[in-house]
Amino acid sequence: MKVLRALGLAWGLTAALGVLTSRRALTRYAEGLRAEAASPAVAPPTAGPAPGPAVRRARLVFGGIGLVVLLTGVWKVLHAVQPASYVWLVVWLLGAVVLHDAVLVPVLSLLRAGTHRGLPALPEPALALVKAGFLVGGLLVLVVVPEIWAQHLGPLNTTVLPGSYARRLLVTLAVVAGLTAAGVAVVLRRSRTSSPGSPPT
């Protein structure tokens, strides 16, 4: 299993180098996008002045520290996890990516598409409330669904996961939705009674 450990270390090294080398390109790409969104007609962004030697040295030092920390982390993980479980480690790491890209993003995209027409018509404080409601509810679901799943699989003994989490989750989500709706109603009434037409702040 030393081979696996060496492979893991090589993978960590590659990842670290990838992060170090691609960070700059990503930053530049993001800046380009931002500039385009702000003023699409303006000429493409020009590169800033080249960093001085002190800045470059500082970047090298911080980059080096980051690299050492990253490699230490990989080394430690490979020692903490039994080699026989490396497959599960990879499943766990990749699982987060797959869950994010295959489940979370599509669901959020659908939600956004569904609410795209109606929601922006709301005044800004109400919109912020709706977003906050969705965020709080979503986080709650992320925390509680694994518990419901573990309960479904069967806990080790009766003192583990003793609650009726599914029912509590539904009730709490209803409360969050209710509070959000109440907040939105208050904001709407206020914006209607105060100067209509001007954007509320």
């Binding site: 969104a37 922006p120 018509a121 906050a132 925390v143 003994n157 003192t159 583990v160 609650g163």
Partner: protein, 219 residues
Amino acid sequence: MDDRDHEPVNQDTSGEAARRTVATGRRGFLATVGVATVGLTALTAGQSVGLLHTTNLFGPRAQGGSPQQLPINRTAAAAAVEPAATDPAWRLHLAGDTSLALSRDELSSLPQTAVTLPIACVEGWSVSARWVGVRVRDLMATVDAPVGARLRFTSLEPNGVYRGNEMGPEFAQHETTLVALQLNGQALSLDHGYPARLIAPGRPGVLQTKWLSRVEVVR
């Protein structure tokens, strides 16, 4: 949590306001994160903070409702200790410069100390309980263990990572470190470590060895 999108809003009629974005402002973002953090903490922290037990809707453990009001990680069945732990021939073996084997009745007849200490599990839950038993330092004095000795505690468990553990003299000599016989006013139940278990302050739950079989000086 993609709050930084820039979508134009059609609600306003004036030209400049039409370009208003629906991006969440800094205040809105911080307020949302704050509400989410406080809310989730309030709904889960009760599994380790007794004061919050009434709002503990989503913590995987509860303060109350468990046998003897204390959650259990490893049951006697899982540890395969039931025959050995209920055997009348059970003795707690003590080994210092001399050695001694005590039955549960003999342990009960020694001076008893009551302490309130939590089982604080590395999984995240923490529940306080009232323990009664014999001070480890008194027990080890009867077998002439040196005061500065490091002690090893061994369980009846035939296997398992935590069937044994060691503690330094700073724990062994502490007045609240006990070989506990009672929990919350009753004899320890089998799942809580009957006939005797270790309870010490400031150590994770996995090191509060249950179903003790042996306490010895580490040479």
